[in-house]
């Protein structure tokens, strides 16, 4: 059933971004074309293109955030909720489908953003013929000297993914808390988001202090001495990932509990 939910969420995502993603790439390419060989602007056209490029990048970010909020709020807590909550699926799967789609959207948007940067400076980047081959050869050389680099790169990606999920679920939890009230739902959701963020920050500071008290600093020094810098970095990444997962679980539970027990679509 989750796969079926994702099918419709991805369809909706594609309809929202089918024009924006290619437009961002096209604008980046045209802006790059408008630059002179020394990287300077070549008149009014390139100035306008630079402004359009900046506007498109900002729009990409803003529309992504709006998409996350809108797909959850309108998709579950307005009229469309009458359809979604009467489908034979659990509330947890409904929330999970929104989360996974939002994550995929963020990943694609980041790839589009990075690709736009390359396209912006395409005139000045001399890419080798066998680009992928060169990249893998370079990584191979580095990791033969530092085998743990692969793990570091992988854990970094996982860390970014987990904390993106935590950020999305934090938004969902705040909107769900607002849904508990009959009136002023938007304002209460915003206040709930601010309060949750403050609590999260305080908790992280508290965990950091507790970790220092129980000797985490010494433990990390021991790992650095015994295993090297990458071993210490990987251990740090793992702890940050676990902390992020804990926040993900907490926000997910808050959201699904509220929507299971206290749903009121009027």
């Amino acid at each position: 059933m989750l796969r079926k939910l994702l099918k419709y969420e991805f369809r909706c995502m594609w309809r929202e971004f089918a024009i924006l993603w290619p437009a961002a790439l096209a604008v980046a390419f045209l802006t790059g074309c408008s630059l002179e060989d020394n990287g300077q602007s070549s008149g009014m056209f390139s100035v306008v293109m630079a402004m359009v490029f900046t506007g498109v990048m900002i729009a990409l970010f803003v529309i992504s955030v709006i998409f996350i909020i809108k797909r959850f709020n309108s998709g579950l807590l307005r009229d469309e909720g009458y359809l979604m909550f009467t489908l034979p699926v659990t509330t947890g799967k409904l929330v999970l489908s929104k989360l996974l789609t939002a994550l995929v959207m963020i990943i694609i948007t980041c790839v589009v953003g990075i690709a736009s940067m390359f396209l912006l400076w395409w005139k000045f980047i001399n890419l080798p013929q066998d680009l992928l081959g060169e990249i893998f050869r370079a990584i191979g050389i580095i990791t033969s000297e530092e085998p743990l680099l692969w793990l570091s790169m992988f854990q970094f990606c996982v860390m970014m993914l987990v904390w993106s999920a935590a950020s999305i679920l934090e938004i969902y939890a705040a909107i769900s808390i607002g849904h508990l009230f009959q009136r002023w739902r938007v304002i209460i959701s915003v206040i709930a988001y601010i309060v949750i963020s403050a609590i999260q920050t305080q908790l992280m500071a508290l965990i950091g202090n507790l970790a220092t008290l129980v000797g985490l600093g010494d433990f990390m020094r021991y790992i650095r001495i015994g295993g090297g810098e990458y071993a210490a970095a990987n251990t740090a990444f793992l702890m940050i990932i676990l902390l992020g997962l804990a926040f993900c679980v907490a926000y997910y539970v808050i959201t699904t509990l509220i929507l299971s027990k206290n749903l009121n679509l009027e």
């Binding site: 079926k4 998709g75 009229d79 009458y82 359809l83 909550f85 489908l87 034979p88 027990k261 749903l263």
Partner: protein
């Protein structure tokens, strides 16, 4: 006694001491109700009597404040949602969808959905597969919604005010669509306050007043005992007394 016989004798809907409160307001106040299978039941009451609240509880869109309700022997959940076909009193389709998306969605999630029937009904209504919901008139959206709901061979159809706010010709169309397409082994629960239009189709009538069930009888027996139509009885039970603070 075999399983089928047991299943056929157990009520499809069972409500016991059902209470639903919204803050200080009690929308349902101790509803006791049993509805069998293969029946067309009218849930009748004026505005604010608790009809929509009861239907939402049956759909799983609301949770009871007290008491319990069962559909096919289970509390509202994934199983009951799979056997219940719900028509709300509003549009619940996403604007970004086209009619083919909706038919695909119903086919994906409901094993009892008849895609061929739905496609034929859409065609009869002049709705093409690529027509966007956003571009449809209100009346067309309502008919599309009804077509999809009635294309399922559900065990329970919950229709919340299906004929409110539509002209008499459209009411006849809606009632005709319901009667010609529903699963005859299933139960249809129609909530309405427009009694005269639906009376001839009903097997049973449940009268809801201020969150209580005040009458629940077979329509034929009710007419015979009272010597009047269900519509006339409704007007009698729910007569408004403005000077005495009565209900509208």
């Amino acid at each position: 006694m075999n399983e089928t016989a047991v299943t056929n004798h157990t009520p499809l809907i069972r409500c016991c001491g059902l209470v639903k409160s919204f803050g200080a307001k009690r929308a349902l106040d101790g509803v006791e109700l049993e509805i069998g299978r293969g029946r067309i039941v009218g849930l009748l009451g004026p505005n604010g009597s608790g009809k929509t609240t009861l239907i939402k509880l049956l759909c799983g869109l609301l949770q009871p404040s007290a008491g319990f309700l069962m559909i096919d022997g289970r509390e509202p959940g994934v199983h009951t949602k799979g056997i219940t076909s719900y028509l709300p009193d509003r549009m619940y389709f996403a604007d970004w969808m086209c009619s083919r998306d909706l038919v695909d969605l119903f086919a994906d999630f409901y094993s009892d959905f008849d895609r061929k029937k739905a496609t034929e009904m859409c065609s009869t209504l002049g709705i093409g597969p690529r027509d966007r919901i956003k571009s449809m008139s209100k009346g067309t959206k309502e008919k599309l919604q009804l077509a999809l709901v009635m294309s399922r061979a559900a065990q329970l159809y919950l229709l919340d005010e299906p004929i409110a706010g539509v002209d008499p010709a459209a009411r006849d169309f809606i009632l005709s669509t319901i009667l010609t397409n529903y699963n005859e082994n299933g139960t249809v629960l129609i909530s309405t306050h427009l009694i005269s239009d639906v009376e001839r189709t009903l097997d049973e009538a449940v009268f809801l007043k201020s969150g209580h069930v005040v009458r629940h009888e077979a329509v034929d027996e009710l007419r015979e005992r009272e010597g009047k139509s269900v519509d006339a009885l409704f007007r009698e039970i729910f007569r408004a007394h403005p000077m005495e603070g009565g209900e509208w």
